[in-house]
């Protein structure tokens, strides 16, 4: 057998270094080539992660037992000997960047699994994937200065399938303060961005823009290297499939947080449409989440087991409390606290300009009574107003020192409008808080009374400060403009926005951090357009471009011009789908002899194929078998011709 020379570049020696030439025969296997190469290089180190990359063919030579002949390698082949794992910059859903060591040789699917295993303690999930970032128009310089990169490249890649927890985080995060900080970044929602920052970021303006984003997904059945990703390149890690299997908030802190971040940015950047009311609720939730994640970071890092224990203990304490309290306490509980003050009342009536009249007001349980004066407060009130089920709205002008509470009180004849005017912020906060609680049927004895007062005060403070002088954020003062999308930022002044967000916030103020995150996600998932990934396609037989929306349970055909849904097909009626890779056409057959076919305009048809296959794969995952991920099936469903 003829001996010939094979030249291999050794990446570790630097790009300038000349290739090393080894003499081989065609029946030498890859392992043998590597052995010769390493001997010849005379570098003593751990080569176990290295593998040969065939540059012309853009493929890895990963089977050591295959001979050169079998691989089809001849003397003209340019081979590079390099590590399979390299540093990669990942843009996370929360907008921060992290450096990790990722596998460049396995399929992207596996690479993502590996990254997830490192970042999060949750079971393997397939909903995430990598995509190429949108090019930033700004100069690179100022970006690099401001961007903090969290480095996780030192973290060893564990082969453990379920990393054990240490201090409430996967053990490899507990190594150093630095990595602990990274974990905190991953598992705690980020503070609200500055409104200017939101305005600067890229926002898709149309459905076509949204479709273009989805052309950036990497092919999950090929490796990073094969797709031209280089060491230290920047990619985005995002939730690709809107089907969040088996979410367990206790164990999935990182996953939950990142999903929240992705949802939040989708809303802030108007990636998904929502109404004003929904936006205000999202704003209120963000405000609440920001506040909680700033104030109690400890809660997030405590271990789940400890959480259980804590709650059990608390529960027990409460029980003991009840059992151990004196009869007097119980009596006290039966008599709720009250508020008493002079306030002014005004009932708008048709054609009357009667102003505010002052009375002595008493707030007890869930109703307000008022009397001519304090002295008469022992007798019969002039009127008693039950606030349960009423609507409470602020009518406040801090600059004008106007602190009114507008009440819409339901009565058999309709709603009665009543204004209560308070003297100052202090009084207003207390009465407003009381009214809000009462409208929900809670009394002043409710534990949330104090926190309610607090939040009303902080929102008042927000209206006091001029946003221009206070663009820098302090811990408890959040610019409300950073909680809504630029559309609503433009529409409202701070003065108008704050009460709207406060109003929405009242309804969620009692939620714990996890519950608030979950609520945010719930509302997001209930939006009509949730879960849609768009691709511009050309249907067979049609002369114009249309949009295909791919959702977790269905495909929809959307008119590009009007935006109306033309047709919906559900996966569970799907018989089969085929991709003609030559003419890049996807053909789908549904029950009842419904056949559709289309070519993809904005994205490769592999991306569409993967979306459909991926969602079908997700639907096969049941709760019980969640621990084992059938990778082979996923590959079969999404792989395309590579899978065959």
């Amino acid at each position: 057998m003829a001996v010939w020379d094979l030249s291999v570049t050794l990446e570790d020696l630097g790009a300038e270094a000349p290739p090393i030439t080894v003499s081989v025969t065609s029946d030498l296997h890859i392992g043998g080539v590597i052995l010769k190469l390493v001997e010849k290089s005379q570098v003593r180190r751990d080569w176990s992660d290295h593998a040969l990359w065939w540059e012309q063919k853009q493929q890895w030579l990963l089977r050591p037992s295959w001979t050169l002949e079998k691989c089809g390698i001849h003397a003209d082949a340019r081979l590079i000997f390099m590590p399979q794992h390299k540093a990669l910059k990942l843009g996370l859903p929360n907008g921060l960047t992290i450096r990790v060591r990722a596998c460049f040789s396995g399929s992207v699917f596996r690479t993502v699994l590996g990254i997830c295993k490192m970042l999060s303690e949750s079971r393997p999930q397939t909903e995430l994937s990598l995509l190429r970032p949108v090019e930033e128009k700004k100069k690179k310089k100022d970006k690099d200065l401001s961007e903090e990169v969290y480095d996780l490249t030192d973290v060893p890649l564990t082969s453990v399938s379920r990393p054990c927890l240490y201090n409430g985080m996967p053990a490899h995060f507990a190594d150093s303060p630095k990595t602990e900080k990274v974990y905190k970044m991953l598992s705690v929602p980020q503070p609200a961005p500055a409104p200017e920052a939101i305005a600067k970021l890229y926002r898709p303006a149309s459905i076509v823009d949204k479709a273009h984003i989805h052309s950036r997904w990497l092919d999950s059945s090929r490796s990073l290297m094969q797709q031209g990703v280089q060491e230290n390149d920047r990619l985005w890690l995002r939730f690709k499939y809107y089907c969040f299997h088996d979410m367990e908030p206790k164990y999935d802190a990182v996953r939950l947080t990142q999903l929240y971040e992705q949802a939040r940015w989708a809303i802030l950047l108007e990636d998904i449409d929502c109404t004003e009311e929904e936006m205000m609720l999202f704003g209120g939730l963000q405000y609440h989440i920001n506040k909680l994640s700033l104030s109690e970071p400890q809660a997030m890092t405590s271990t789940p087991a400890m959480d259980d224990l804590d709650s059990a203990l608390q529960c027990l304490e409460v029980k003991l409390d009840v059992g151990g309290s004196s009869p007097q306490d119980l009596l006290d509980n039966l008599t709720a606290p009250e508020l008493n003050d002079y306030l002014k009342i005004f009932r708008p009536k048709r054609l009357t300009l009667k102003g505010y009249k002052q009375y002595w007001f008493k707030f007890k349980d869930d109703s307000i009574s008022y009397y001519k004066s304090k002295e008469e407060s022992l007798g019969e009130p002039i009127q008693q107003i039950n606030l349960k089920g009423c609507e409470v709205a602020p009518d406040v002008n801090v600059a004008g020192q106007k602190f009114c509470i507008r009440l819409l009180i339901p009565a058999p004849e309709g709603m009665n409008e009543v204004y209560l005017r308070c003297e100052n912020e202090e009084q207003y906060s207390r009465w407003m808080a009381a009214c809000r609680l009462a409208s929900k049927g809670k009394s002043l004895a409710d534990t949330s009374f104090q926190s309610e007062i607090q939040s009303i005060r902080s929102f008042l403070a927000m209206q006091q400060t001029n946003p221009s002088t206070n663009s820098s954020q302090t811990d408890d003062n959040i610019n409300t403009h950073s909680l809504v999308s630029p559309r609503y930022s433009k529409k409202y002044k701070t003065k108008q926005l704050a009460p709207k967000i406060l109003d929405a916030y009242q309804n969620v103020a009692q939620l714990s951090l996890t519950d608030a995150l979950l609520r945010f996600l719930q509302i997001w998932q209930a939006l009509p357009d949730f879960g849609l990934s768009f691709v511009v396609v050309r249907f067979k037989g049609s002369r114009k471009d249309e949009v295909l929306g791919i959702a977790p349970n269905r495909l929809i055909r959307i008119d590009l011009g009007v935006g109306d849904v033309v047709k919906t097909w559900r996966y569970n009626n799907m018989r089969q789908w085929n991709v003609n890779w030559d003419i890049r056409q996807v053909a789908i057959e549904f029950d009842g002899n419904v056949n559709i076919a289309f070519c993809c305009v904005t994205a490769d048809c592999k991306i569409v194929h993967e979306f459909i296959g991926g969602y079908i794969f997700m639907s096969t995952r049941s709760r019980e078998q969640s621990d084992t991920l059938n990778e082979e099936l996923f590959h079969k469903l999404t792989g395309g011709h590579e899978a065959l």
Binding site: G389, A411, P412, G414
Partner: protein, 663 residues
């Protein structure tokens, strides 16, 4: 403080005693018990708010008494023995009633109706503790109490005070007596406390009516003034919405089958894929239906059907109805302003936090609506015409059902599905039980029916003298209700538009057999014709001659009851033990499994593929009501039935045993 201590100890004594008496297993079968029971009653009522009692309609009163007796029967035998002595004790102990007075201050409901209970209004709230505690105070023998109280240490005392306080809290619970109008126009009166959900009340009614318990049974409220109707959701508390009624309200609570209640779970495709063609929807596979339900109700968030379409909005204070493009989202109903895009410029029309959704009836007439398929959004407190009520009108009944159901999904979310699952479980259990009992069935049921009929005659007040069986006696205690003239129920009231004519005829005829499904008829021996005549002539529906309650036959094979004993004292269910049974049986009869579908009542023919209309039986309701306006609800001065019954099976078994004993 000493006073309070004394009060509490007294109170506690009473309560302990009551508890003990509830626990007694065996009963003294004294023959004298019936008479002493009478005494017991008068005693019980002596302390009550008499005015409110007086205004109770007589038949209401009977039903109520029967109800209450169900609870009391367990304790009464115990009480009886001590009665005479108690009477004395009470006179001697004038401060005994004191604790209850104290209680009443906590108890007075926020509604001011309490102050004038004698106005003859439909709603009367009475402080409950005021009445129920005193009614039990007599049995408390002071001599039992004193020694123990004197000896106990302070610790024990305070414990007891604590206990008493807890019971105080219990007594604080608001209770209403609710008159529920049955499918056939008869009515039942039952006590509902504020912790009870509609589901609890439904279960209660199931037990009383022995209906088939299918998932469509629901409670709904009607508002004649606004011509509104709304089915309560099973998880709602019943007392809350009823408290919003005005005092002179003519609103009613109906017990009926409403097919649209859970239609979304039975045929989700009609709601979630409503845009698809009819044939696809009809041919939907069960598996696909399940999948739809799963997708929309089992995920992390509830998905609301994607509804959009032109609805007519009634302009404020104007008579015109303007078409607008409305959209339903989880967060509310939105509309698209003229010339604006659908995606970005939605204007919120209403959010669901503070409103309920109602069906509007006959709005074409009332408000000149384009069609009669209207729904209404309003705050539950609003009972009269107001600018705060939002009226919407749909093109057809199916769109109306879609919208109303969609709104319910948006408003109630997961609870709706939970309710459905609970209902299903209940229905399956019952049907399994019924199947079992029908196999064992049969002939003896006739005889039991006849007995019941007799008993009911007595209970009705025709035999005011103490009857021979102590049990049957109980129902008769209150002033005998004069039977309503038959004419009163017969003609359908003119104002009720729903299929009046067939109804009237069915009513007049001895119609019992027709109300059974054929299959049932073959299995059971139906009541003899004379009985059914009895039915039509003896109008108060509660006392109509009973056919065998459905589960009946199964029990006839059980070992016969040992003696004519009063009900075992351990039954502390809200269920009526045998004595009141006759009163309830007729209802079984009237609400048999295949009762007329309620959708007839308020949806007309619009439900897809309606089954052949069974004899409608709704009309009499209104006529009864009109001729003798019955208060739909009242607070009774008596202790409420403990919420959430107990073991249904054993209860039934016991009831059957009783019945046998009565023969």
């Amino acid at each position: 403080m000493d006073d309070i201590d004394a009060m509490f100890s007294n109170l506690l004594g009473e309560m302990d005693l009551l508890t003990q008496s509830l626990g007694v297993e065996t009963l003294p079968p004294e023959s004298s018990s019936s008479t002493s029971k009478e005494v017991n009653f008068t005693m019980g009522f002596a302390d009550m708010n008499v005015e409110s009692l007086n205004e109770l309609e007589e038949n209401d009163f009977d039903a109520l008494m029967a109800d209450l007796m169900a609870d009391l029967s367990a304790t009464e035998n115990k009480l009886v023995a001590e009665l005479e002595e108690q009477k004395d004790a009470k006179v001697a102990n004038p401060d005994l009633p004191a604790p209850p007075r104290e209680l009443s201050s906590y108890v007075v409901p926020s509604l001011s109706t309490t102050t004038s209970p004698d106005t003859g209004l439909n709603t009367t709230y009475t402080p409950l503790a005021d009445s129920h505690i005193p009614s039990f105070s007599p049995p408390q023998p002071p001599q039992h109490e004193k020694p123990s109280m004197e000896d106990v240490e302070a610790q024990i005392k305070s414990d007891k005070i604590k206990l008493a306080l807890e019971k105080l809290k219990e007594a604080k619970v608001k209770k209403l007596v609710v008159k529920v109008v049955m499918n056939d126009g008869s009515s039942k009166t039952l006590m509902v406390d504020e912790r009870q959900t509609v589901r609890d009340v439904l279960d209660n009614l199931f037990e009383k009516t022995h209906c088939d318990c299918n998932v469509d049974w629901s409670l709904s409220e009607t508002n004649p003034e606004l011509q509104l109707e709304r089915g309560f959701e099973d998880h709602e508390n019943l007392v809350d919405p009823l408290s919003a009624w005005t005092r002179d309200s003519e609103n009613k609570v109906l017990f009926q089958e409403r097919t649209e209640k859970y239609e979304v779970f039975k045929n989700p495709q009609n709601f979630y894929l409503w845009k698809k063609d009819k044939k696809t929807l009809k041919d939907m596979k069960d598996r696909d239906k399940e999948l739809l339900v799963e997708e929309n109700f089992c995920g992390p968030s509830i998905i609301v059907p994607d509804l959009e379409g032109v609805l007519y909005l009634r302009e404020d204070n104007k008579k015109s109805w303007k078409p607008r493009l409305f959209l339903l989202r989880a967060s509310g109903i939105y509309y698209v302003p003229k010339g604006k895009s659908k995606t970005r410029d939605l204007v919120c029309f209403v959010q669901f936090d503070n409103v309920n959704v109602y069906y509007g009836k006959e709005y074409k007439n009332k408000y000149k609506a384009p069609t009669d398929f209207c729904f209404v959004l309003k705050h539950p407190q609003i009972q009269k015409e107001s600018q705060y009520i939002k009226y919407l009108c749909c093109d057809d009944s199916w769109m109306m059902t879609l919208w109303v159901t969609g709104i319910r999904i948006a408003k109630y979310g997961k609870s709706l599905y939970e309710n459905y699952k609970t209902s299903m479980a209940k229905a399956q259990l019952t049907s399994a039980w019924n199947n079992r009992s029908t196999t064992t069935t049969s002939t003896p049921s006739t005889s039991s029916t006849i007995t019941n009929a007799k008993a009911s005659g007595k209970a009705n007040g025709y035999a005011p003298q103490p009857p021979e069986e102590p049990v049957a006696n109980i129902g008769i205690e209150p002033p005998p209700p004069p039977p309503l003239p038959p004419a009163q129920i017969l003609p359908p009231h003119p104002t009720v538009k729903r299929s009046p004519s067939p109804n009237a005829t069915t009513k007049k005829l001895p119609s019992l057999p027709t109300k059974y499904p054929p299959s049932q008829a073959t299995i059971f021996n139906l009541p003899a014709p004379p009985l059914s005549q009895d039915d039509s002539s003896e109008s108060p529906p509660d006392f109509l001659p009973p056919p065998p309650p459905l589960p009946d036959p199964g029990f006839l094979s059980l070992p016969p009851p040992v003696s004519f004993l009063p009900p075992p004292p351990d039954s502390d269910f809200p269920l009526p033990p045998p004595p009141p049974d006759p009163a309830f049986c007729p209802v079984t009869n009237r609400v048999p499994k295949p009762a007329p579908p309620p959708r007839q009542l308020y949806m007309g023919a619009d439900v897809p593929a309606p089954p052949p209309p069974p004899p409608p039986s709704f009309t009499p309701t209104s006529s009864v009501i009109k001729t003798a306006p019955l208060p739909p609800k009242r607070t009774t001065p008596m202790q409420a039935a403990p919420p959430g019954g107990g073991d249904f099976m054993s209860e039934l078994a016991r009831a059957m045993a009783k019945k046998r004993a009565n023969q």
